[in-house]
Symmetry: D2
Subunit: 310 residues, 4 copies
């Protein structure tokens, strides 16, 4: 309901997941009710069905790339909008049931094992590595006593009363996951000066330069593309749509004009929301002549020409 | 005065010039007063000073190219707008004072001599050729008895009572001159569906691709460029402005958006008018997605997204 | 070794995986030795270390999108080249140990469960669904008697002697996985007229239009882009490289010129191979003036101008 | 004849013209024979017929723009090449037969009168102004005693023994004319690092963006466009070719590749020569990645990829 802030939030569980940790970053979520769901489609359906007001779902990971299930879930079915993003550093801990447990085996989700393999080899060369279906499931297995040690999130270890024997476990640095808070459609919040606009465009691929003409629609309005990903359309390999993140807000004149341009030249455009950018990156300065006031000036100038000829 | 049709018209004299013949093509001019002036700057000054309501001046010739004095006169000084164009086929006649005069010498303006040289060599191999300052002056010299024959416009021969002994004299075919009717600024007439918009843009030349970025502003809105000419800025060789003719009308959404785009990326833009195209060429069809109704659809779509998010 | 066809092939195991099924499509692999490995990095390392001559690894899936581990594994470390691709339709079967087993529970890899969920709900509404680490592991669990039924590949069922009680299980249609055969560097095979060239380009993202200028390098040479994917560079979110598939072959003049153009304008370019396209799609016809013979003609013309001026 | 420097030079007469003054700037012409001809077509024909080795003709004027007769004469007929350019400042003098002559009337070519009108009004308000067919003819009339005073070139006054009573007569400043030395085809001289390449391209105008795609062929190779002029094709108004001046030399790799690109996408391309730039303007620095050594690096890189795959 417009004007009423969301109070019920779904996140990708189980409790202690990185999704829950990300959701806790949002003040509204800390005041509201948070509900774990078992899959991304379930989270999006809960929003569409009105069971919750918003859902936090992972969009991309700095090491794994985009999360296809989320992108496809946003694009197929009734419209949903991204209203906020959360960028959460991914940090793993090594946890055991009690300090005296020997670390002769470590379990985790295959991705977490992959990211921590060198570190584990270095510090626990004698340990075997086992894969389970999630980092939370790994933490539960340790709490249940079925496994001696796991790699999981700090939150999962804390919630299950595990003992953390190492933090910042992992080979990569600065790994992070970007989450999107998704709601039913409504007007976007006001521009903040450092916003992201997400969209999906569909183009015909049978023409040399088709994607280039999409990007030209952005660049002539000074709109900076911060992310692009081709997605198979599901029809067959070789037919793609494009998921785009642009700097700017739908209520700004440059981005608005660019959206209209895309609408004209693309087979289809799906708007996925304008929302504040999370994280340290400030906005890229607008190219000369393409700042917000330049758009306002051009509108005034054209009106004068149309009314008075000079 | 807005709403009052022009009634006093200047043209590039002397009487009998191609400019007068072109002016007679305009119904308003046939009903009004027409005044010959001795130069293009004088014609434009007469409009600026309010001595006349409009002036017809030559813009370009299919064989000689543009008329620099006209372009410069439109660009420098108080704003003027083109409100109509006339494309006049250039046809020369060979005229004498009386049928019995021997054609042993033919005079005309150097350009006319150049365009008729082969024809004269073929039909009057014994005649010497002489150059004078205008085709009208040539006709006057024949009427005065100081020269035996001239190449001039049909109108000039008729006005001086000369005898035309050959029509369609000339080597080229389909030569034509394009004239512009110029007035003081005011709102453009309504779009006709086949209009021209003329402008001058100034760009920095110190950057590879500067002109290309101007043309991109047109092409992304589906605006067809029908003429481009670089003009020295007067500062020095190597510094240019660009005179552009585009298909479309300032009151159409695509051309309006393109004008705003040029305003933002160019050092300066001078609007020179939107007016109906004269001649047989129909408009080039708009590219897919860039017709007038596509612009209207995009405006509606964006408004819906801004208000309701979908 | 150049000139010696590969005879030892690694694939992503366990035996019966879709990777093994894809590898069997290649005649050379059917004649050679095939070796299962436990991860994509292991497969690529086996090639780099010379333990095998080539490895077949998954590149992208029509439903899940690209396989990040493969892309990253190709880009990081010693150079490797794609020398062939195999597009394999993904078909699942429902398999049991014996016909009499009641299907009250079905296990598989989470992706396979996701793709077959609706089908299973429709046909076996009473069955619970369980997730395990791979479709092959699911088949092994059924063969071992620890699970009653699984969704797996036809090959996995066949190799373990399972009974297939349903074929073409799944909700999507035309799902397919694209595999790449990867070798140590060497000259590409000859152009076939319907080839793919894969590359990774790195650009600076701090500039509006950076990606567009990459695409322009392709389009001006008539090179059709068939796939693009942004990949995080690992540094941090918001910094990307781009994985590109283009139509054409490095030994063709147009693509060669485009590669040189990319080399000049990109921060870095990594060539990943030119190889025949697998599947039904024929090549997109070259735009007017950009066919292979047009490139040859232009070379001849320029040589003439340089030597003789005309 | 290749290797033999030109020794016979035509220029646009009469003697004392600005063309003769420009020709004297070329060392080879000062050592050779110079021959006045009466028109630009005559000058070009003298080269084509082998009557002279080269001809100096005006290309453009900083105030009048291009010289259409020269452009058309270069484009139509047997090929000719520009081998040098001369940029000559245009300076007028006021000349009389003897100091005692009263300046009550001044004659000159209409263009010269136009450029000096304000100066003459200011300094000789009582003088009437008369137009004749050339500034040289004006000087001759004063020498003959038929006119009291003229505006002409310093050289024309000197050659006829006139008395110069004012120098630097004129309203504009820094006016200059650019001349081209034209020869029969042969290999261009070596690149100097600050060269101009002139060409004429023909494009189809029935397509939005046709000219833009021409300019893209230049910009992707970092070639700077220093002049562009649309020329009617002679067929009819609205059908144009484009005369282009580009920075660079045909023997440089970037310009060579750009020429081949134009050859492929244009209906026709006519090469008009690569020659050293005259005047103070240094070359615009190449964009990042598009300097000469970047082209050489890209050639080496591609060769390595083709031969060894990495």
């Amino acid at each position: 309901m417009p004007g009423v802030p969301p109070s019920r939030f779904a996140y990708l569980g189980p409790p202690g997941s990185f999704s829950e940790a990300a959701l806790r970053r949002l003040p509204a979520a800390r005041r509201g009710t948070t509900i774990p769901v078992s899959s991304i489609p379930d989270a999006l359906d809960a929003v569409r069905d009105g069971d919750v007001d918003a859902a936090l779902v992972p969009l991309e990971n700095s090491q794994e790339g985009s999360v296809p299930v989320t992108l496809d879930g946003l694009v197929d079915g009734a419209p949903l909008l991204i209203t906020a993003e959360v960028v959460l550093p991914v940090t793993f801990v090594l946890a055991v049931a009690s300090k005296s447990t020997p670390v002769d085996r470590v379990v985790s989700h295959p991705h977490a094992i992959a990211q921590c393999r060198s570190w584990l080899r270095r510090h626990y060369p004698q340990a075997t590595l086992g894969e389970v279906l999630s980092t939370s499931a790994a933490a539960t297995a340790v709490a249940n006593g079925t496994e001696p040690a796991c790699v999981c999130s700090p939150l999962a270890a804390e919630q299950r009363g595990l003992t953390v024997i190492a933090t910042d476990v992992g080979d990569g640095d600065r790994a992070a996951t970007r989450f999107a808070l998704v709601s039913r459609p409504g007007p976007a919040g006001p521009p903040t000066g450092n916003d992201v606009t997400s969209l999906v465009v569909y183009i015909s691929h049978d023409k040399v330069g088709a994607l280039e003409s999409v990007l030209t629609q952005l660049s002539v309005r000074g709109v900076n593309l911060t992310r692009i990903e081709s997605r198979p359309t599901g029809e067959r390999l070789g037919r793609y749509s494009f998921y785009l993140d642009c700097a700017g807000h739908i209520n700004e004149p440059g981005l608005g004009e660019a959206l209209m341009g895309l609408r004209r030249v693309c087979a289809d455009v799906r708007f996925l929301g304008s929302y504040p950018r999370d994280g340290d990156d400030g906005p890229v300065p607008a190219p000369i002549g393409l700042a917000r006031h330049d758009f306002a000036d051009a509108v005034t100038w054209l009106r004068g020409l149309r009314e008075a000829g000079a």
